[in-house]
């Protein structure tokens, strides 16, 4: 999943406005940021990304991010929400890709990347639901403002672009 993770982060913001939005957005993408870090450091990500997208690294990332959040805002519920947002990454990726579980465990997923239109529809729906929740946190005077809708349209547009790029390189696409 790509922009759909941002939709989940936006939705989570509606449950705890004390958590900075930037933190929720990064938390939603965190395992992918680990991928980028592993790529730059030229470290093996393991079979199917086991070392960044398996249960263990995601659990560790969730705990570390929750501790960081608690140190930042002193809000236990906010820290828990951030941990859940990190953990949500695996669940959302289950729909779009094929994901590892634990060392020696099964590799699972619906692999909607192989059906790009279904993937774009599903990710856009995730963005829409998250954006609707996020929109409720805004003052009533700007809920129908152009900038508010720009967030929704920009994320969906990025998803369409990413979906097209991914579909065109399917089969030859590797993260590193």
């Amino acid at each position: 999943m790509y922009a759909g993770h941002l939709g989940f982060g936006l939705g989570a913001y509606s449950f705890r406005k004390s958590v900075p939005l930037w933190l929720l957005l990064i938390a939603a993408q965190l395992p992918d940021w680990l991928d980028a870090g592993y790529c730059i450091a030229d470290i093996d990500r393991g079979p199917y990304g086991l070392y960044t997208h398996g249960f263990t690294p995601i659990a560790i990332a969730a705990v570390v991010t929750a501790l960081f959040t608690y140190a930042l805002i002193r809000d236990a519920k906010g820290a828990l929400i951030v941990a859940l947002v990190v953990a949500s990454h695996w669940g959302l990726d289950y729909f779009t890709g094929i994901k590892p579980t634990w060392p020696g465990g099964p590799v699972v997923g619906m692999n909607l990347y192989a059906r790009p239109i279904v993937d774009v529809v599903m990710e856009s729906a995730t963005i829409l639901v998250g954006w609707l929740l996020y929109r409720r946190t805004l003052p009533k005077s700007v809920r129908n403002h152009g900038w508010t809708y720009a967030t929704l349209f920009a994320l969906c547009a990025l998803q369409v672009l990413a979906g097209a790029a991914f579909a065109l390189s399917l089969g030859g696409h590797t993260k590193c």
Binding site: W22, L25, Q29, A36, I40, S141, T151, A154, L158
Partner: protein
């Protein structure tokens, strides 16, 4: 430049783009809300 650096940087940019865009629009929305509040106070 080694290919793993390029791939990592490419992934980083792809991840950062939606975050930056979302935060920019969020900031512009909050600015619009503040202007609206200030406008209402001036009318009063």
């Amino acid at each position: 430049m080694p290919i793993h650096l390029l791939k990592g940087a490419e992934l980083g940019v792809a991840l950062l783009a939606p975050v930056v865009i979302t935060l920019f629009f969020h900031w512009r929305t909050l600015v619009a809300a503040r202007r609206d509040t200030q406008g209402q106070e001036q009318v009063r």
